[in-house]
Structures are given as C-alpha cells and as structure tokens.
C-alpha cells in the first residue's frame, strides 16, 4: 500500500473520530462516526481484507449507524447542545485515552509482529495453492477456493465461509438462538399491558 494513501485514510479516520467527541450536535456526531467507519473500512481494503472492509461498511456504517440516528431523531435529543462538558468527564476521558495510547505505543516497540512491514511479507497465494493440493489439507476438497488460489486470487469470502460453517457450525446455531432471545426480549419488554386492554374493552 502506498504510504500517502495510508496517511490520508488514517487522517480521515482519526479526524472524524475526534469530531464524534467534539461535535455538539448529536446528529453531527453520528454522521462523523459514519465517516470514521468508512475510513476504517478503506484501511481494511488496503490491507487486502476486502470482506472485513465490506462488512465494516454494511454492518457498522450501515445498520448500526442507522439505528443510532433513528434513536437520536426519535428521542429528539437537543439538550446535549446546551449543556457544557463536565470537567471530570473530560479529564477522565483524556486520562483513559492517554493510558491506552501509552500502552499501545509501548507495545508496538516490543511486539515482534510490529517490527515487520507489510511489504516485507506479501500474501503468498501460490504457496497456499500448492499446500491445498495435499490430500490432508482442509481446503483440498474446496473446489471454488482452490480455483481462486490457483488463479492467484484471494478468495477471502469463501475462506471465511468455510471457516464459519466447517469449523464453527454449533456456534452459528447458537448465534441463531441468541438472535431469537433478542427478538423475544424486545417483544416481551415492549408488549402492551393486556390487563389494561381488557379493562378498557369491558
């Protein structure tokens, strides 16, 4: 990835991230968050992680942000604009951010992976393609993935799907149960009072 592109995208991500906190208008904050997510998605794409980049846009910039905006507009939040920032909140947030930054930077020095540049370790697709020719390799029977690998393309979506459905099938079922619980929870907590309805009818 060319360095100027990285710096541009990082600048967009961080700049809008800062705006999320600084903007007084909640809608402006939320829209800045959309831009921040988009910048992050673009960074993922430049790292060859196309699927994660797409999901970042679809799920976070799309679904989650729409939900945020919905709630902001439904509740018609205006008070935030008038209220000043509390000093303790600002100082506390700054200290937390400083600690996290310090931690990450100190880590970057000692973490062996942090010392290798991405350009030094390019994605070796041909090696993966040869490895998949082995009969015992988990990808051996995956025709689509192997065709892409042989053609020198990265089948990241198919690989992700293969991992998800092949290695973690039970987890996927459990997530279904989790979503069901979420739905039931919404129905239960927002149900209208049946007792009141009955007395109204009578």
């Amino acid at each position: 990835m060319p360095a100027p592109l990285f710096y541009l995208l990082a600048f967009i991500t961080l700049g809008f991230g800062l705006l999320v906190v600084l903007a007084r208008n909640p809608v402006a904050s939320a829209l800045s968050l959309v831009m921040c997510f988009s910048g992050l998605a673009a960074l993922f794409v430049t790292l060859d992680a196309y699927l994660i980049g797409t999901i970042q846009v679809l799920v976070y910039a799309g679904a989650v942000m729409v939900l945020f905006l919905f709630i902001i507009m439904l509740l018609d939040i205006k008070e935030e604009e008038k209220k000043g920032q509390r000093l303790t909140a600002v100082v506390g947030g700054m200290i937390l951010a400083a600690v996290l930054t310090l931690q990450l930077t100190s880590m970057a020095g000692s973490f062996p992976l942090a010392k290798t540049k991405l350009d030094d370790k390019p994605l070796d697709i041909s090696a993966a393609s040869t490895a998949a020719k082995d009969k015992n390799h988990p990808l051996h029977s995956m025709q689509m993935i192997r065709k892409d690998l042989d053609a020198g393309k990265l089948p990241d979506t198919a690989l992700m799907g293969q991992t998800l459905f092949d290695q973690y099938p039970l987890h996927l079922q459990m997530m279904g149960l989790l979503l069901l619980v979420g739905t039931v929870g919404v129905v239960v907590l927002s149900r209208r009072d049946t007792a009141k309805e009955e007395s109204k009818g009578a």
Binding site: S106, M174, L177, V181, V184, D193, T194, A195, K196
Partner: protein, 492 residues
C-alpha cells in the same frame, strides 16, 4: 446419550416451548412453568446416565471432562431452583408485568432460563475463546431481558439498563482481550495458549495486556472488585428469581471460564504466571473486603445478598490465585467448584425465602423480618441456616468452602492476604447474623401466620439438607472433584 446431546435437546425444547406459547392461545397459565420445570428435571436426571464421549466434529472446541460435567449439573440445578423460585414469585412478577388475569401468561419468564442453562452448560465444556464467548453472550443477553422483565417497576427497568450498559462494556473489554491474546499467541484454544505462553518468541507485554483485559472482562461477570459497582443496584432491582439465578448461574459460568483461562495463562513455564497470580490475589482480597465492609450498613436484604455475592466472589478468586496445594491435596479447580457447590444451596435458599415472603406482602427490609419465628418457625429456621452458612458457621457448607480457600492460601504463605480475608469473614458474621436476629426477635402483635406452598417447603428442605450435609460430610463431593478426568465413552 452423550452429555452434549442433553444441552442441544434443552435448546430445542426451549424453542418448542416458545412456539407452544405463541401458537396455542388457549393454553392454561401454569402449563408452561410446569413443563419448563419438568424438562429441566428430566435433563438433570439424564445427566446422571450421560456418557462422556465427545463426537469428532465437536472435539476441536468442546470437551467433556469431570469438571465440565460438574458445571453442567450445577447449571441444571441452579436453573431448576431459579424456576421454582419463579413459581413462588409469580404473583409479584404478574403484578409488575400487568398479567394478573387468568387468561394472561408470562411464559417467557419460565422459558428464557432454559436458554441461559444451555449457554451455561456449553460454557462448561468450551475449549477455545470463541466457544467461550458465544455462550457467554447468549447467557448475558438473556439476562438483559430477564433483569428488566418486571417492566412496570422502575427499579427493574433501571437495573436492566445498568446491566445492559455495563454488560456491553465488559463484553467489549473481553473481546479486546481475546484479540490481544490471539495476536500474542496465535491461538484461540486453551491448549494452544498454554503452549504459547511459555515460548520465548511470544511477546510478554502483549500477553500481559491481553490477560489483563480478559481478566477485567470476566471480572465484570463474576463481580470482582473493581468491576463490582453494578452488582448492588442490579441485584436489588431485578425480580427475585432472576437475582438468584444471576448470582449463582451467571457467576458459576464465568468462573469455569476464568478457571480454564487462568489454567492456560499460568501453564508450566508461562512468562506471566506471576503477574496473573498477583492480580487475582489482590483483586480477590479487595473484593472480599469491599463486599464485606459495604454490606455492614445495608438494611435491604436483596442488596445485602448482592454484597454477599461480591465477597464470595473474592474468596473464589483467592482460591484461583492460590492454585493447587500438594500439601493439603486440593486442586485449584476443585476448590472453586466446591465453593460454588456450597454457594448454590445457601444463596438459593435465601432468595427462595425472600420470594415466599414477598408474595405474602413482607418486603425485603431487615425490619420486616421481625417476629418471623412466631409467624412461621420453619421459615425462620431455614433463614437461619442459609445466613449462618453464608457467614461460614462451622457445621454448615459455607465453613468448609472458606476453610479450603484459607488452606490453599496458607500453603502459598500468603499470610497477609489470609489475614485480610479473615477480617472480611469476621465482618460477615456481623451482617449475616442481623437477619437471623431480626427473625428471632419479637414482632408486632397484629402479625398473622405465614404459609408457604408445598413445592417451596420441599425445595427449602432439600437445600437445608444440602447445606448441612456438605458442612458435616464434605468428603463425598471433594473426592469427586479432586482430579479433573477427561471422560471417555467408557466413563460414567
């Protein structure tokens, strides 16, 4: 039938019950609660005949060993007790959900615990961090709904919101920790992590960050200081059966995960075993002290039990920190499991009594307990047993649990920590005996006799029996927990 089939069957049964509730509008009000209790009882019965073989397609992330079997049975027992308490609290829940009429139902309140139980049972066998995370979320999200279930009560809603926000935060921290550990060790499985923590090529600082975040995330779930602030409010606000289930089931689920994670992180030759041990030790001591000292001034019994739950979490953390003790022949995972096994009957008994009292108009205040011994001698006796055991009175289960923790810590030579823990335990004697004193003091002349239903009476009798049996003859359970055996198809 293998053990993993039981939890899958329970999940299917829960979904079927939800469907039954949705599609059969003429169903009687108490059918689903009865079915739900029956199903959990059946699953519990099936557990004792279950085989321990893990099919090959699950083997990479799922293992059935004796500790996993213990926690699976534990989850089922906790669910059964919580459902029985829920039946006792039914009128109160109905009042706060606007479903008092005979044609109305609150079926979800009895079905969602089954789903929690499935999550807890799976967590007991999970062998990698993804398999830990998915059921942990299943349990937590279900609890978000259950805590806020009494939606006409402002305190229940407030508790729900508090639990949701702090739970989401702790999930974020946990996932961040998992990411760091994966980055540092290149592995998601506990076995892989245990191998990598000792390797020279693994970055120690990255491991420390990952382990710290992981411990913090799980610390939220077990209510360890300094991540305990949500406990008193949520415990007080949630419906009593949910509080009981939360304090026993959710805590046990988080502790089995914590046990396995700590075992992996402090595996032989680990670079960070000293750091992890120190963190657990001091977190445990602070948790005990905070839970015990803050409980002294409480007058609301559910809140009191909330602080009690914090201080008990501290004792278990201390046991985790101390590790195995060859001198006394106790293993760390065995002490944790045993402590939880003693914690279950006493806490459940306390909450059962609260639910029974509440349904008869006795609020959860200390002063309301006055004269209980006259109004119902049986209840007063059960209350005395439960709180005496929570305090750790000799001849009750609570005493043996605390003693094992002290033994493990003494073996490590942590006399300072043991001293502070004893201070916490001594404070416990003060605040746990206040409800007992209140129950046996003279009441008002206009007090009427209290009655309790047969299921509640029977459950209380079983729990009292369990507390006394574990206190007098703990060997039976201890020998079962001494070694962690990987079960095979021949086992059980």
């Amino acid at each position: 039938m293998s053990a993993h089939n039981i939890e899958i069957a329970l999940a299917v049964a829960a979904v079927a019950l939800l469907g039954l509730d949705a599609f059969v509008p003429t169903l009687k009000r108490d059918i689903i609660p009865k079915l739900s209790i029956g199903l959990v009882g059946l699953a519990l019965l099936a557990m004792f005949f279950a085989k321990g073989d893990t099919p090959a397609y699950l083997a990479s992330y799922y293992r059935i060993d004796s500790i996993a079997m213990f926690y699976k049975v534990f989850a089922l027992v906790a669910t059964l007790a919580a459902l029985i308490i829920a039946r006792e609290a039914d009128p109160v829940i109905a009042h706060f959900t606007g479903t008092e009429g005979p044609s109305t139902r609150i079926a979800e309140f009895y079905i969602l615990p089954l789903i929690v139980c499935v999550g807890l049972m799976w967590m007991a066998s999970a062998q990698d961090l993804i398999s830990v995370f998915v059921p942990l979320e299943l349990v937590t999200v279900t609890f978000y709904v259950l805590v806020a279930f009494a939606r006409r009560s402002a305190v229940s809603l407030e508790a729900g919101v508090k639990y949701l926000i702090l739970g989401a935060l702790s999930t974020g921290i946990l996932v961040y920790g998992i990411a760091w550990i994966y980055g540092a060790t290149g592995s998601m499985t506990f076995a892989g992590i245990a191998k990598a923590v000792g390797a020279a090529s693994t970055s120690k600082s990255a491991l420390i960050v990952g382990a710290a975040l992981l411990l913090a995330g799980l610390g939220f779930k077990v209510a360890a200081a300094p991540f305990h602030v949500w406990v008193p409010d949520v415990y007080q606000g949630a419906p009593t059966p949910v509080t009981a289930f939360l304090s026993v089931g959710s805590k046990a689920g988080a502790f089995i995960v914590l046990t396995r994670a700590v075992q992996a992180l402090t595996a032989t030759g680990s670079q960070i075993s000293g750091e992890v041990q120190t963190t657990l030790l001091w977190s445990g001591v602070i948790t005990i002290l905070f839970g015990s000292l803050a409980a002294i001034t409480q007058t609301q019994i559910k809140r009191l039990l909330g602080y009690s739950s914090i201080s008990h979490a501290g004792f278990i953390l201390l046991a985790l920190a101390a590790g195995d003790s060859a001198r006394f022949g106790i293993s760390s995972e065995g002490v944790v499991a045993f402590y939880l096994a003693t914690y279950l009957p006493m806490t459940m008994l306390g909450f059962l009594l609260l639910a029974v009292l509440r349904s008869q108009g006795v609020a959860e205040e200390l002063s309301q307990l006055q004269g209980l011994s006259k109004r119902s001698p049986g209840m007063a006796f059960a209350l005395a047993v439960a709180f005496a055991s929570l305090a750790g009175l000799p001849l009750t289960a609570g005493f043996i649990g605390k003693m094992l923790v002290f033994l493990a810590a003494v073996d490590k030579g942590w006399y300072g920590a043991v001293g502070l823990a004893v201070v916490g335990a001594a404070a416990g004697f003060y605040y746990y005996f206040r409800p007992i004193l209140a129950a046996y003091s003279a009441g008002k002349p206009e007090d009427t006799a209290l009655r309790w239903s047969l299921p509640a009476k029977a459950t209380a009798a079983v729990l009292v029996l369990a507390i006394v049996t574990l206190g007098v003859y703990p060997k039976a359970l201890q020998s079962a927990l001494k070694q962690n055996i990987v079960l095979t198809s021949a086992g059980k």
